[in-house]
Symmetry: C2
Subunit: 212 residues, 2 copies
DNA sequence: CCAGAAACTTGACACTTGTCAAGAACGAAT
DNA sequence: ATTCGTTCTTGACAAGTGTCAAGTTTCTGG
């Protein structure tokens, strides 16, 4: 019986531990989300923990309580950010029943992303560049890159399938192409170039049938 | 005669002024080159004027003497850096007499660049990302981007010409494609991925005949 | 209700940063 | 040789940085 009790007691403590862990992790994500706001505004180079704290409901000490250091925080931000991005086009891919439908759905989301989430995306490009200098970022960044490549590949495959074809180039080349176009359009958009978005859409509209 | 003297005198002072300006500019470039060393090592975020000075033969004060502020210095670096890059493949384009020759020349230079100038290129990607946050960089970065696009276009046009064809996509799309591939290969190369360079070469070798 | 743990705040630390002023070294014209 | 403008060095300043320890509040199990 003593054994049962200790067993039950251990289960309870373990459950409590799990709960605490979850709460801890949920808080980390809250903090990461708050940090992303400032990071999107200022970029990695100009963002300090105090600035993050000031633009949020938290004090700068909390960040040190939940993260071992600044890099740990940023890494958590990057990882969290990933989850949001990768599924962006999945619904379009799942519901589209024709090439045109897929094209228009994709383009609409593309334009909306560029318009409304420019800050987050410039942060992504910033962090990807930082990963070339900072070893600590590399693993996460490479992983996200792979996920994005897979995301593009899902779109292209579906598009090809709807036309009874197969994509003509590799996942890597396709991702490079779309990522490059998006990056360039983003920069131009941020530089107040009103033609950036329409020209990106034109380009993609023209490109899709030739690559898939 | 008095007029001639003052005219001559003015010519002399003007000549002296031009000389001084040239000397001043030459010094600025020296300093920019020294700064590029450290920037390539540490990236924009972690590079301070003092660090630049310590890794060079100069003291940190000189930089303030020749540049109005840090951004001015970095801008000068970016502009100077541009001149080097844009002509990298011109010789290959000019001398190649067949598609194969052009391909192999291009690939060789591509591999060498990735191998030997990784530091400078990661700096470029860093600065391009910074331009999304820092207005002061945008003009120069957009200009360099245009030059690089033109550079890729020269290669593609020549390649197409040698096959009696024309490139099938726009300059923008072609640049996006190659830039995206290069950027991804660079990150992998810096992460000690030995397959990065050969896989890039394979990809480009496969791609060239399909786009031109 | 209360003790002890968890969550958070505050303020201080050591250090780095960009900037700049004061002056030294240098060079050239008089 | 002296004077004057250019070039460069040095040291200082204020602001900002990541980090952390000490203390306060809040929560929670008994």
């Amino acid at each position: 019986m003593a054994r049962q009790v200790t067993g039950a007691a251990r289960r309870v403590t373990e459950a409590a531990e799990v709960l605490r862990d979850e709460k801890f992790n949920a808080r980390r994500i809250e903090l990461a989300e708050a940090a992303l706001e400032t990071l999107g505004d200022l970029g990695f180079a100009r963002t300090s923990l105090r600035e993050i704290a000031q633009n949020s409901a938290f004090t700068h000490g909390v960040f040190h309580y939940y993260f071992s250091d600044k890099l740990d925080l940023i890494c958590c931000c990057v990882r969290h950010y990933k989850a949001k991005c990768v599924t962006r086009y999945d619904e379009v891919v799942a519901t589209a029943t024709s090439r045109d439908e897929l094209t228009e759905g994709f383009l609409a989301k593309l334009a909306a992303t560029l318009q409304n989430e420019a800050r987050m995306h410039r942060l992504w490009y910033d962090l990807r560049a930082q990963a070339m200098f900072e070893t600590a970022f590399r693993k996460d960044v490479l992983e996200i890159d792979k996920s994005l490549e897979a995301m593009i590949w899902r779109i292209a495959s579906r598009y090809a399938e709807l036309g009874g074809k197969r994509p003509v180039s590799s996942p890597a080349a396709l991702y490079a192409l779309f990522d490059g176009l998006f990056q360039s359009a983003l920069l131009r958009h941020l530089a107040d170039d009103k033609t950036a978005i329409p020209e990106l859409l034109d380009e993609v509209r023209r490109l899709l049938p030739t690559v898939c």
